[in-house]
């Protein structure tokens, strides 16, 4: 990455390797700092993004993350959309259960990410790919 990314339009990171997952974390950190999320909220958002980016890579077979600033008028936040065209999640309820993994993970990524952000939405289904949208708002002053 060169210099400070311009966040007036959403930034897209392609996720096709471990290094891309690192890149997502770094971009999300920069964005979180830019809208003045607290240090704890930055940490929560970057951690959630790391989990979801890894899922996009490992289970989705690769995809992308779109990182943008949202503004409610009262406060700012960061919204990230992770998307892939992989197999999709047949049973979302199960996938969100702590400890459930179809790979060799800890099964905390999806459920944990949901707890770490303010808004969490998943669009998926067998054969439909997966799209996870998360938002974290700066605490209003």
């Amino acid at each position: 990455m060169t210099g400070r990314p311009d966040l007036s339009t959403p930034q897209v990171v392609t996720i096709n390797s471990d290094a891309d997952v690192v890149r997502v974390r770094q971009l999300v950190r920069t964005a979180a700092v830019a809208v003045s999320l607290s240090l704890v909220d930055q940490t929560k958002l970057v951690t959630a993004a790391s989990e979801l980016a890894r899922n996009t890579l490992v289970y989705g077979g690769g995809g992308g993350a779109e990182v943008g600033v949202v503004d409610s008028g009262r406060r700012k936040g960061i919204r990230i959309v992770f998307s892939d065209e992989g197999p999709g999640i047949a049973n979302l309820e199960l996938a969100l259960t702590d400890g459930y993994t179809s790979g060799g993970g800890l099964g905390l990524g999806l459920g944990g990410a949901r707890r770490l952000v303010d808004e969490f939405e998943v669009q998926t289904g067998t054969g439909q790919g997966t799209r996870v949208t998360i938002t974290k708002w700066a605490r209003s002053m």
């Binding site: 997952v21 951690t47 905390l108 770490l116």
Partner: protein, 149 residues
Amino acid sequence: MHRVPVLKIGDLLLVSIQVDMEDQTALALQQDLSDRIVQSGCHGVIIDITAMDIVDSFVGRMLSTIAAIARVLDAETVVVGMRPAVAITLVELGLSLNGIRTALNVERGMELLARSRQDDADHVRGSDSDTAWMLALGPDPDHPTATAS
């Protein structure tokens, strides 16, 4: 791929994670540490995560796995330097860091390892053992080779 260096200091192995690790780097570290524990015969491992601004479930699992492998190889692991924001996030993520001992910093981690080694020595040989005092002193950070095996 970057490789995280493993340093031998006295009878301890010290790992200081300074980069945002790719998953492959974390897996390689797990392997390297296991090899070094066996090679060196060290009984203590300190993993310094002061520089890490997040610990996600992948890295958390790596830390638990390292601790478990080390235990089987008769070594104890202490994770030191966790930032408060990281600790708060870990709890919310649901990661329990099973079986991992933690300390505030490297120095405290060394004390902890020296003490638990001492406890083991007392347990095995009785507290009047003529070598227990050496373990109680622990490694001297100013003279890294003084206690090298």
